[in-house]
Amino acid sequence: MVSLTPESDMASATPTLDTDPSQKIGSRSATLFWRIRHNPQMIIGIICISIFLIPALFAPWITRRGPAELDLGTTFAEPSTANYFGTDEMGRDLFSRIVYGGRVSLQVAGIAVGIGLGVGLSTGLVAGYFGGWVDNIIMRVMDALQAFPAILLAIVIAAVLGPGLTNTMIAIGIVSIPRFSRIMRGQVLQLKEEEFIEASRALGAGDVRLIIFHILPNGLAPIIVAAAVSSAAAILTEASLSFVGLGAKPPTPSWGGMLQTGYKFLEIAPWLSIYPGLAIAITTLGLNFLGDGLRDVLDPKLKGR
């Protein structure tokens, strides 16, 4: 089918969507966008997350009743057009609770990962950059934190602080600190030896300038991936804590809490367990896919490893 007309030569010179524009000429963001569109994991991840979290953003507009609104007359109603996901033992609309529960999960994931990210990044940067005894102390503390199984540590912290959403977020945040700290430290150790850092230093850049403007931006890619995966872990941990009664307090709707009361009625009202279970499973799966996808997109060299 190959013809040697000038038109076809011109066409082959134009990059089509089937080749990576980064090998040609193109802006950085266009490259990134192209990689995202061609990463099925990432697309699936985003879709999974959107299923429950987009409704959560628009919760007041798409639910008919508040998540804590009782209707003692219609308990254990099966899923129907009146109550999409059925009602629970107090006649509350499960759809509304799931949607609002998404907000709680989103909040927990965001704030807990924020705590872990903030503390983890700064300690990791300091430990990696300065090395020596500073590094030793910080990393031994991280070792100690990591020595406990994450869920156990979260339970202990939540139990000590007392149940409640804020304390849950703090507990999950603390548990996720070592992960960020270690990754950041590793990045710093590697980047410290790079020529562009040496060059900056030779040009007179101080420690703070080096850390903030040169090392941090170049070491962020794996951190972003870790943040996505950590969000999944945070949602799961919050659900676990709520399940053992240490998470969100009523009337705050939480997926884990719903599962906890729902399983008691498994035989007569299975939907009370199925929907919160699905919400947790799909959202955490989506975040994990997103994390994997981000890794491939941000650092193509790692792909397939």
Partner: protein, 518 residues
């Protein structure tokens, strides 16, 4: 021909076999494992929190002087007969002479006096002492005769003695002496089973008492069972799953939502008890904000009793403004005032809380309590009371609420269940007793207490019921408690376990005549 006869005989034998096996003559042997909601707290009936496993352990370990049968009549146990003097103040009990404690000592009149005096001793601070407050002195006439002198005639005395949990188990004086403070871990009585091992939080193991005095249907000494084990699991679902899997044989209670499934299961039986659970809240009247009657009234007016009891009882319960069971001679058809949110808000505003107030709800972490807490939270939020729900372990809850007058500084609004049996109404006097530790709300109303005491002083049932009605009306008016209503307790057991006795006042298990049909 011969082969035909042989075949028919054989066939008849085969047909007869199952009927022989099904005949329910009691069989000896086997161990029955019971599972309750709450763990055993003590083997000393006089220092106990009186959960169902506690009481079942006492039924196994101890004998009482007298007891209530299933229809509510007082029948002999250790006492074979008793007489009442003409002035109604002196009861003379003749007791059996063939009963020995598990430690080998005989159960005599001294032991009866010792046990009852031990409850009454102010130093022992027994939570059940109120039940025996009417006793003035106890005299040992001879080895088998005890004379109990009351300070005034009391209609309730016999039935309270027979049925009030923990009020009349006869403990071994020698064992109490020997173990001292540790007696609660080492209960020694004369009951059908004796203790093998128990420590708090673990399964209590009891074995057959080989020297028990009661005779079974096969003319040999009871009990039929070789032993009894008592454990606890708080979660209704987990408890039922364990019953199904065969880890346990008898389950104190199942969630009402599970009754249909258990009925449909051939390997299980539903146990209809004569007991109900009353759901109630206590408001601590010794602390703000509930020291103000207007706040308490507002709470009362904000609650929709009908809706709540329908929801908790799935249609099996009934509303009642006090924990008396329907159908008894003392049941008082009382209801809390109809919900009125406007009036409730107005009362709150008058009390200075027009902008709403924050209240701590403490409840024992059990499924139904948690559900009730959330319903109350939703209903009270309508009048601007916002609740911080705090689920607690049973013992932690009791640490806050089961204290003397003025000592509860932590609890504001407590959600609790109270077991409603068919015993004497006087068992509920503890909620009216000023300064009594079970009087969770710390309520002190002289008129109400006087009415309760007046009901003790008369022998006339109608008048007793009337005095109780007065006391209840005063409680509804003063609102230290809001009793929402009663929901029947339904238990479950393996289908082959037969003749599980249930005590009249609390439906605790009596395994004396229980056997397992193979």
């Amino acid at each position: 021909m011969f082969r035909k006869i042989a075949f028919v005989t054989f066939a008849l034998l085969i047909l007869a076999l199952p009927t022989l096996a099904q005949e329910d003559s009691p069989q000896r042997g086997n161990v029955v494992r019971g599972v309750c909601v709450s763990a055993i707290t003590s083997l000393d009936p006089q220092q106990s929190e009186l959960g169902i496993c506690d009481l079942s352990a006492y039924n196994a370990l101890y004998n009482k002087l007298i007891r209530l049968d299933e229809t509510g009549n007082v029948v002999p146990e250790i006492a074979t007969e008793w007489t009442v003097s003409d002035d109604g103040r002196t009861y003379t009990f003749t007791i059996r002479d063939d009963v020995i404690f598990h430690d080998g000592n005989p159960l005599d009149a001294e032991a009866v006096k010792f046990s009852l005096d031990r409850i009454r001793d102010p130093e022992s601070a027994s939570p059940v002492s109120g039940n025996l407050s009417v006793i003035d002195t106890i005299n040992v006439v001879d080895g088998t005769t005890v004379e109990v002198v009351l300070s005034e005639p009391s209609a309730a005395f016999l039935s309270v003695l027979a049925a009030a949990p923990g009020a009349s188990e006869i403990v071994s004086p020698a064992a109490v002496e020997e173990f001292g403070e540790d007696y609660r871990f080492n209960g020694v009585g004369s009951g059908p089973f004796q203790l093998v091992s128990w420590s708090p939080g673990e399964t209590a193991v009891f074995e057959r008492n080989p020297n028990y005095w009661e005779m079974g249907a096969d003319d040999e000494a009871l009990p039929y069972l070789d032993g009894v084990e008592l454990s606890s699991i708080e979660d209704d679902t987990v408890r039922l799953l364990n019953l199904r899997s065969g880890t346990f044989d008898v389950n104190e209670r199942i969630a009402l939502t599970d009754v249909a499934a258990v009925e449909a299961d051939d390997s299980l039986q539903v146990i209809e008890t004569n007991t109900a659970t009353a759901y109630a809240i206590a408001m601590n009247v010794s602390q703000p904000p509930f020291d103000d009657i207007r706040v308490r009234q507002a709470v009362q007016l904000a609650l929709d009793d009908d809706g709540i009891i329908n929801n908790l009882g799935l249609g099996r319960g009934y509303t009642s403004a006090f924990a008396f069971p329907r159908g008894t001679w003392y049941f008082y058809e009382s209801q809390n005032p109809e919900p009125n949110l406007e009036m409730a808000q107005q009362l709150l505003a008058e009390a200075g809380y027009e902008d709403g107030l924050d209240v701590d709800f403490t409840h024992i972490s059990r499924a139904v309590d948690a559900q009730l807490a959330q319903i109350l939270q939703a209903q009270l939020s309508q009048i601007g009371i916002s609740a911080d729900i705090q689920p607690l372990e049973r013992t932690a809850w009791l640490d806050i609420w089961l204290v003397g007058a003025g000592e509860n500084t932590e609890g504001q609004l407590g959600i609790f269940q109270n077991t409603v049996g068919i015993g004497d109404p006087d068992e509920k006097a503890i909620f009216f007793q000023p300064g009594g530790i079970v009087n969770f709300a710390d309520w002190d109303n002289a008129d109400a207490w006087a009415a309760v005491e007046a009901s003790r002083a008369t022998l006339d049932q109608d008048e007793r019921a009337e005095q109780w009605a007065t006391a209840i009306d005063l409680q509804i008016e003063d609102v230290p408690y809001v009793w929402l209503g009663n929901v029947p307790v339904i238990g479950a057991a393996d289908a082959n376990i037969q003749d599980i006795g249930l005590s009249a006042s609390r439906s605790a298990w009596i395994f004396t005549e229980t056997f397992v049909a193979e």
